[in-house]
């Protein structure tokens, strides 16, 4: 209902940001995520809000705008959800001092709440002094958490990689790169990188690992199944973690996960918490969930005589179902896929799932 009026009021920075992302000016989701958070922070700092409700409406409108403009970058929406949660928390903390309310209301729907008939409707209309500064401070803390999330994951490397193991990974992922490097400082092990061309840039990862003196082999996608029986562990990054514990990850990930399942090789997914989205895969028809890029890497334009007779597609993502994953390693520790629902309820307010 408010969508139309808010459309005109979208902050110009956001428009520029969307164009920049679409033109591929940012590399990697961590950069996009921190940029989104910067923008939201600026939005709050610039705005004049009489109460928390107004602040939340503005954030939500901008979050919705970003989500619609960049549907495949789930972490953008996640940032808006996290900021909304921060506003809620700050508001609750602020109003507690004023009203002397001691009990905290759990936002989740639960059987307990149905029974005790607690009304869940909270209003955010009353004035809380210093709400803005509180929120901004809280966001800065969260920014720190974001910046250190990749390091925090890398810190856990020694617990998961042991001496003389053969690790298989796929494509280029910054978090996997730092994870393996960290482990290599203490242990000796071999890495097999699946190239995953033309989009995966596995060669880039292989070069970087070789530079830090890790024994690295690069293989093509078609050798995944053949080599899997020799592998001790699969460690991959992901684009998004869905609410059921499934992944939206780089193409070929599903093949790797299936091969790993077949050979009983554990699959570890390195996922900073900002990649966790409350969305589900509603249908196995993958069109709405994928993006397609120029297919010249699959079949070169120079093969022109055949071009008119062949349809070429180059999808970017795979959906990997949760039963193929052994463990998620996030900046707060290891989690089983069945535990993802719990993390979600801790990270976001249920009213913000649908942004």
């Amino acid at each position: 209902m408010k969508a139309d009026s808010s459309k005109e009021e979208v902050h110009p920075c956001f428009l520029r940001f969307v164009t920049d992302v679409k033109q591929g000016k940012y590399s990697g989701s961590s950069e996009i995520t921190s940029k989104t958070l910067d923008l939201l922070k600026q939005l709050i700092a610039d705005g004049e809000f009489s109460n928390a409700q107004g602040m939340m409406d503005t954030i939500r409108a901008h979050g919705r705008y970003l989500h619609k403009a960049l549907p495949l970058h789930a972490s953008v929406g996640n940032m808006a959800r996290r900021v909304l949660k921060i506003v809620r928390e700050e508001y609750a903390a602020g109003s507690k001092i004023i009203k002397n309310k001691s009990e905290e209301i759990d936002p989740q729907e639960s059987l307990h709440k149905i029974i005790t008939s607690v009304e869940s409707g909270e209003d955010y209309s009353s004035h809380v002094p210093d709400l803005k500064s509180g929120v901004l401070e809280h966001i800065s803390e969260f920014e720190m958490e974001l910046e250190t999330s990749i390091d925090n994951i890398a810190q856990q490397a020694q617990e998961h990689i042991h001496s003389n193991e053969i690790i298989l990974t796929l494509g280029m992922s910054h978090v996997v790169e730092s994870f393996l490097r960290k482990a290599a400082a203490h242990r000796k092990f071999d890495v097999i990188v699946v190239d995953c061309g033309p989009i995966g840039k596995g060669q880039q990862l292989a070069v970087s690992l070789a530079k830090s003196k890790i024994n690295t082999t690069i293989i093509g996608d078609r050798a995944i199944v053949g080599i899997m029986s020799r592998v001790n562990k699969v460690i991959i990054g992901t684009h998004t973690v869905m609410a059921n514990g499934g992944l939206r990850a780089l193409r070929s990930c599903h093949a790797v996960a299936l091969a790993a399942k077949h050979c009983s090789v554990p699959v570890f997914v390195l996922a900073p918490l900002y990649k966790l989205t409350p969305q589900y895969l509603c249908s196995y028809d993958q069109d709405g969930f994928n993006s397609y890029i120029a297919p010249d890497g699959v079949l070169d334009f120079s093969d022109h005589p055949t071009l008119s007779q062949i349809k070429r597609y180059c999808p970017v993502f795979d959906y990997v179902p949760p039963e193929l994953i052994t463990l998620f390693i996030s900046n707060t520790g290891g989690h089983a896929p069945s535990y993802v629902y719990r993390l979600l309820s801790e990270l976001y307010h249920p009213d913000d799932y649908e942004i």
Partner: protein
Amino acid sequence: MDVQAEVAEYFCQILREDHDVSAGIAAIRTLLYFLEKDNSKTLQELDNKLSKAIASMRQTDYPITAITSATELFRRFITLTSLLDNQSFDKCKESMLSRGQLFLNKLKEARDKVGKMAGPFIVDGCKILTHSKSRVVLQTMKEAAKANKRFTVYVTCSSPDESGRLMCKELDAANIPCTLILDSTMGYVMEQVDMVMVGAEGVVESGGIINKVGSYTMAMCAKELKKPFYVLTESFKFVRIYPLNQQNLPKEFKYSASKLQNDLSKEHPMVDYTPPSFITLLFTDLGILTPSAVSDELIKLYL
């Protein structure tokens, strides 16, 4: 003695008059009615009388799983309310009655919420297999059809009571294309469908479900052919038991009260237990849950 008979009669009357109400809701309405009429002087007395009233409902031939979960929820409600308000028994009872109505209303909203959650999973052109008759599944499908989604449904006729025929009739009335199939054709149609959607009589602590016999077979077929198996259910059907296998399921759950005296080896069980590993997701009014989230909810309530 005749109080108990009255309770059972009131309960049966609700279910006879309104086919759209589930046994769990009827049980809670009955208990609220009982609470209103009751003239106990202490909480202990009330509790004893409630147990008797519950026992009399369990003697009727309606599905006992739903009655068990709903009545247990009600007793928990009584306990928690009495803890909140412990000035005097009269005041306590007053607040029980007023809160009870709120509680009942919340439960009635549950089905709509489930429909909203499951709606996006029904997409244009999909084929859904369902088992027996479930009011939640029916309502969800009706709502999806109202939103102009085109999909087809296969319904098993579901022996021995053939409740699938009723489901098919209702879907037909709502202009949703549906096909009635034999129970034994489950495997035959499974390759054609995109997903399985069933209701549940009860959701147990492991995250598995108790439902009309044949659901387990359907879940196994779906798993084998890698089709998602979705369960649509209201949260008042969560029940605190942990069956290990089919034999382990209490007898009262499997056979109707009037048949318990017969030689059970010659009787057909009415329900079976589907373990959580066969279930993809549960759509409840508490949100979309994975089977492992169910025990979390139950622990929160009964801790």
